[in-house]
């Protein structure tokens, strides 16, 4: 029963990881950028939600109405003003720029909010659960977080498959110059992709901040888990990212069932094992990067 419980909780946690990683996966798929500021941007969104809660008394879920568009706008501006230039500087430049950006944002948060741990308050909902059998209960909040992860991944998948902009993103990912010959302004498209990615990471940040405590340095762990989910699933594949998140979540759940200290370690070990056995991930995208 303990194992079943660990797997179930792990799957739900995996949905949340997939939610965090979705934007990372999208940006990598479209631009081949690994955004090292992704984790701290999730934390930034959580602080945004915290502010709205403190000053206006808004529930974290309500705050999404403001935080998501604000983060999307930030993403658009960031891409146009900063990351576009970085992209022109070769393969290493985006890594360095996003790493620097992560440090800047983290320290701005530290300056503004101090290093105290914070938590978003979702009220009684946070602790409510459905008892399935004796010893196996599913919390409403983890369930909602996992559902949000699946919805975001599915939504992004539909967006890429069915819309004009989504098709253009896939085309640009295949062959940027040929895409320009079709009339596609790749820089505007990149800005839209980053805007969407930061919109999804805002949702993820609010869920993360409601699930457990956070502080300005929480971005690093968030980034590592998201990155592991993306790599386990296969770079640039959205459904792979969902699978990667679940694999990571279950590994952490099972590890923690043995000993609470082994949870994170078990996740890392599975990540390394996948890298060793299937370096392109479990569901690599059809076209090689």
């Amino acid at each position: 029963m303990n194992t079943v419980n660990a797997v179930v909780q792990g799957v739900l946690l995996g949905g949340l990881y997939a939610l965090v990683a979705a934007g990372l996966s999208l940006v990598f798929g479209v631009m081949r950028i690994v955004n090292l500021a992704h984790g701290v941007l999730a934390v930034l969104a959580a602080y945004g939600s915290l502010l709205l809660g403190e000053h206006l008394g808004w529930n974290p879920f309500l705050s999404l109405l403001v935080v998501v568009p604000a983060m999307a706008a930030l993403g658009y501006a960031l891409q146009r003003a900063l990351l576009d230039r970085a992209l022109r500087g070769g393969e290493l430049a985006p890594l360095l720029v996003t790493f620097g950006l992560a440090i800047v944002i983290q320290n701005l948060l530290l300056e503004t909010f101090s290093a105290d741990t914070q938590r978003l308050d979702v009220g009684a909902f946070g602790g409510a659960s459905i008892e399935l059998t004796d010893g196996l209960a599913i919390g409403w909040f983890p369930l909602l977080a996992a559902a949000a992860g699946v919805l975001v991944i599915a939504g992004l998948g539909q967006f890429l498959a069915r819309t004009r902009t989504g098709r253009a993103m896939r085309a640009t990912s295949d062959d940027q110059e040929a895409a320009q010959l079709m009339g596609i302004d790749n820089r505007r498209l990149y800005a839209v992709a980053t805007a969407i990615a930061l919109g999804t990471v805002a949702i993820a940040g609010v869920f993360l901040g409601s699930r457990s405590t956070f502080d300005p340095s929480a971005g690093a762990t968030t980034l590592i888990f998201a990155f592991e989910a993306v790599v386990i699933g296969g770079l640039g594949s959205l459904w792979g990212t969902l699978l990667g998140g679940v694999v990571l979540g279950v590994a952490q759940g099972l590890g923690a069932a043995i000993d609470p200290a082994y949870g994170v370690l078990a996740g890392h070990l599975v990540f390394l094992a996948v890298l060793a056995v299937r370096p392109r991930g479990l569901l690599p995208s059809a076209v090689t990067a």
Partner: protein, 260 residues
């Protein structure tokens, strides 16, 4: 592959088209004026001038390295000239980027076809229409032009044969409803029978009033479809003239750079 194209006789001639377009006495549709362009220190085009009238089909021929593809890239905006300018429909477009030029009616079907391999055939065509220029070409029109492409519409573009890919690439460029269609080495790596089938579609494209600039190593194919021929050697024009009056011996000498 025998039904790659709908064979169709050339019903309207270029002169009619030019009159219908109302551009009989106006400036040429495309004017590449005294252009230097190239990669690094080596100029591939040296003071090259190319003019194409609306409704005309111009074939630019030349050996490998003559500057043909560089010319098309300069017109499409992928490459910026270091000297000279490109005028399209009377407007200087030298500073416009490639995606902006598609919006103004220039569409390049690139060398090597460059389909989007992870997209299906139909998605490739849809991406071709990204600029949303109005005109005669849409999915049904392209499928009618290339029935075989219609049969393959749900397949990933990467899974097609070379000839099929080239048909998709031409269709994808048409989806932008260009006023000027640039075709780069349609024949590259394809069997002669396939090349003939692909070029058989050209009259139906020019019928719509589309101006075409083809670049070819296959000289006979190029001359058979063009109104006018311009031969390049090392980035300069060495011979030009009406396609039906050009002297084969003179052309061969120009092509290979042999002095006569």
């Amino acid at each position: 592959m025998s039904e790659l194209t709908n064979e169709h006789s050339r019903s309207a001639n270029a002169t009619d088209e030019r009159q219908r377009g109302g551009h009989v006495s106006s400036a040429p549709l495309l004017h590449v004026d005294d252009v230097d362009a190239g990669y690094g220190d080596v100029p591939a085009l040296r003071g090259l001038t190319v003019t194409v009238a609306e409704g005309e089909t111009l074939a630019v021929i030349g050996a490998n390295g003559a500057g043909k593809s560089t010319l098309l890239k300069t017109i499409a905006g992928v490459l910026r000239p270091t000297r000279g300018e490109v005028r399209f429909d009377g407007r200087v477009v030298t500073a416009l980027s490639a995606h902006q030029r598609v919006g103004s009616g220039i569409s390049l079907c690139p060398e090597g076809r460059r389909l989007f391999p992870s997209l299906t055939v139909e998605e490739n065509l849809q991406v071709g229409a990204y600029a949303r220029r109005p005109g005669p070409w849409d999915l049904p029109a392209v499928y009618e032009l290339f029935p075989l492409v219609a049969e393959r519409r749900a397949r990933p573009a990467a899974n097609l044969s070379g000839g099929e890919q080239q048909a998709v690439a031409i269709g994808r460029s048409l989806m932008a409803n260009p006023r000027l269609l640039l075709l780069d080495e349609v024949s590259l790596g394809l069997a002669p029978v396939i090349v003939r089938q692909l070029y058989a579609a050209l009259p139906r494209i020019t019928e719509q009033g589309t101006t075409v600039l083809v670049v070819e190593q296959d000289v006979h194919q190029a001359i058979s479809v063009a109104d006018r021929v311009q031969c390049l050697l090392e980035g300069r024009t060495v011979l030009e003239g009406a396609a039906d009056r050009i002297d084969p011996a003179e052309l061969a000498a120009a092509y290979f750079g042999v002095r006569r």
